[in-house]
Amino acid sequence: MIASFFTWLNDAYGLNFSIFYDAFDQARFLKGLWTTVYICLVSITASVVLGLLGVWVAGGRSRLGRLTVRIYVQFFRNTPPLVQLSFFYFAVGGLLPTIGDGAGAQVPLVGGTGWAIIALSLFAGAFNAEIFRAGIEAVPSTMVEAAESLGYTRFQSMVRIVLPLAFRICLPALNNNLVNLVKTTTLAYAIGVPELLYAASQIWSEVLNVREMMNVLLVAYVLLVAVLVWLMSRWERAMRIPGYAP
């Protein structure tokens, strides 16, 4: 049905949406979509973990740890993500040893997708650390003191009292940053990771339907972001603090 419609569209109007009727292009496109989703999922998780880790160290007693986190955050926030990605992929990746893949060829230890995930997680993690820190600052110190007086250790009060509140407060900001992360995954194109943009560019350079693919691509990304925003806003509503209006 869909395939025949788009074949008809191509024949009648010359609008060539090959991904909807050509099985090969469709498979490529879907594979690219899956790669993008995979990079998104892994780096969202990793960046949130990194942000939590950063905020834990930044609030700790060790001066060196605090300074390290500050430097990490400031450096990754104030340099272009594309240059970071290039640095990791070309410079750091070039230093790592290669391993045999069993068929005689040498493959790098961490591939393009791996480096994309690492670089994007570090990039978004820097922003997340700052977002969590702002959230934690919004929790009154009396709350922490009360927890302390009840014998909570720092870790316990963090996990049971501070973070549950702070997390709810900073969810909108976190939401924004994760949307940004999804959009930043397109940078992986620059190091040849076969994600959605890369797949689309392969298709349009072979089938010569730049205009159509470009629009499909835009809609695909807007949909991807919309799904994330929808999920996050549902979560936000489910977790909202009753009576708290920011």
């Binding site: 070309f90 702002a134 835009l218």
Partner: protein
Amino acid sequence: MSDSRPVHILQGCGVTCATTDLPVLKPFRAPPIAPSGLAAPVVIGGAALTCVALLFGASLAHAQLGAATGRDGALAILLRWAPLIFQGFLFNILISFLAMALGTVVGVVAGIAQVSLAAPVRKSAWALTQFFRNAPWLVLLFYAMFLLPFEFRVLGLTIAFPAWVKAIIGLALPVAANVSEIVRGGITSIPSGQWESAESLAFSRRQTMWMIILPQAVKRMIPPWMNLYAILTMATTLISVVGIQDGLSITRGALIAESRPDLMIPMYLLLLMMFFAYCYPIARATLALERRFSVRA
């Protein structure tokens, strides 16, 4: 080790529950750029640069010492290319200025349209803003690069449309959408009392907007606008992906020309440091302005 089960403190707190003026939750000072835990921002910036410079120096020294005899030293090669890389970086800055100017002009119009009284104008401006805000920058850049013509013919006059102009337009699209949101946010953050009192003084809507609302809102828009500028500056490296010679592509070209893998880390770090030295002061200034203009309740 004490028992750490949660204790129900409020149980037994009956009708005579004492009120407290302690805050239940403090205000959430949202990033983009929130104050740092340490007092001296200069120290952080300096320390970050020093750390990277140390790494840079170490990798450079390693390359210098490890170089085979009879070839140029790593330092000599780096000095040879550094001016060109810096030139490329300046081109990035130029692009960011132009894209920001174009994006701001379009964005302000779109932002004002977003609070228009005419529903079709408001809704279409909202839809456009959301669309361009949520599309990835790189995809929009591709969009502009591939779908804009390379020359225009107007009345027999041929206007060339070089790649870098198209890149500016491609970068200005998301900037305009973000500026539009900033303007809308700034305007709606002005208390409605201002509108009402202007109305009671017989200001027309246009007069109210230009003489009362916007002058107050601009102050609140400047910090997020500067933050957007820093983001745009970092995003200008995207133009290297679509084949324009900027700082990143020159760096990459230099590395290919010299074919010295040991120089990769110092070269990329050099470029990273250039961007950091440019963007970090902007981030600090944004924060300082944000604090200064923050609305006192």
